[in-house]
């Protein structure tokens, strides 16, 4: 059946490079998540409390991010901005694209989280003498965080998986690096099989860490 000789040696030789690229994948995903959380939170708050142009801007962002392919968004930051003479580095393209996408998806999660906390909580905190800031940081945000914790974990996993698109815009993260080695040795199957395993392990580590952290954070 197999008319094909598997050659794993070059893969083994390049394994340290692949693992290093895996670290880069993780870095860009985490960075995009951090940016995405900040912008997503802002988008959610704007959509809940504001009217006018800012509302439409935030809504447009969220709907565009959710209703177009992530690859389209990467291409936009890659080639689309080139029309305005703006040329980003591959790293910046992936970071911008992922952040844009994550912010859109997270904004909806945050909005759901805020809406799930009853308004009476805020009023109760305020009538206990807390300032608005105290009420938000001590009463509302912790409850919202609990609700959006699992969606956040899922989004991080998606960010890791999505960063593989970096391969198509010339970014040498795990997938890009794999393609580079694969095209040099023509051992495409072997390299991509190894990469698939690395992605799987990264995702499992994230899920495990998230579960351990949740057990620690949400003891009560």
């Amino acid at each position: 059946m197999f008319d094909y000789n598997f050659h794993w040696r070059p893969v083994l030789k390049n394994l340290p490079d692949l693992l290093g690229a895996g670290l880069l994948t993780l870095q860009v995903a985490v960075l995009a998540m951090v940016v995405g959380i900040v912008i997503g939170l802002a988008l959610a708050l704007i959509r809940m409390h504001m009217r006018g142009p800012l509302y439409w801007l935030a809504t447009g962002w969220v709907e565009l991010a959710r209703n177009t392919p992530a690859l389209f968004q990467l291409f936009f930051f890659g080639f689309g901005l080139g029309a305005f003479g703006l040329h980003l580095s591959p790293f910046a393209i992936v970071l911008c694209g992922l952040s844009f996408n994550c912010a859109g998806y997270l904004a909806e999660n945050f909005r759901g989280g805020f809406q799930a906390v009853p308004e009476t909580q805020l009023r109760a905190a305020r009538s206990l003498g807390m300032t608005a800031w105290q009420a938000y940081t001590r009463i509302i945000i912790p409850q919202v965080f609990r609700i959006v914790y699992h969606p956040l974990t899922n989004q991080l996993v998606w960010a890791v998986l999505m960063s593989s698109l970096g391969m198509l815009v010339g970014f040498r993260e795990l997938s890009g690096e794999t393609q580079f080695f694969a095209s040099r040795t023509f051992r495409i199957f072997e390299y991509f099989a190894a990469t698939a395993v690395i992605y799987y392990v990264i995702v499992k580590i994230i899920l495990l860490a998230s579960r351990l952290l949740a057990a620690r954070l949400f003891r009560y």
Binding site: Y4, F75, G80, A83, M162, S164, S175, F192
Partner: protein, 220 residues
Amino acid sequence: MQETISFFSGFTPNDLWFLGEAALRTLWISALSITIGTILGGVFGWMLYEGKLTAALTLAPVLDIFRSVPLIIQLVLFYNFAPIVGLDLDPFGSGVVILTIYTAALVANVARGGIEAVGKPMRRAARSLGMSYWQDMRYVVLPIGGRAVFPAWVGVALGVMKDSALVSVLGYVELLKASQILITRTQEPFLILAIAGAFYFALSFPISRYAAKLEQRWAQ
């Protein structure tokens, strides 16, 4: 006087035709994968629900792999794996196979959730009325559970439609690949990407809005 030859030419109405054809290919590969994948995913979901320990130890980890490895890696891996086992698949065939399995892996969880959403008492009542197992499945579980997870299924289907853009990595000329080709020729990235993005958006936005509305109405 010698005329200068340009490798680039502007965007013409003919190119719209080219984009339109590519958009149809996007629709075709998505529709095919989503249809087969949903049927397969329904069966998998039922197996996960009924199979208990056996399914949890065999089927679940396999489906989990397809959700933990980036789609683009799966596509490249399968496209290069098929010839090794003697399968002669073009990019379209490979794309359909992987997108179908990917859809099935996502739908399996949705389907299992749907079956679980139908209360045990309801099913016992159905069986007590003399319905057979399959009658119970067809006339009780399918309408009630299906309704509970329909919005989630729409989300999966739209996700696959957007992810079908990744089949371009195998050389299948769907909408995003076609735009890339046109961008290279016309050097008008912004216009062409806007057209491609508008197509995805026009398809995804109304459907996701409709699903959200249904979810709201059914929640009452």
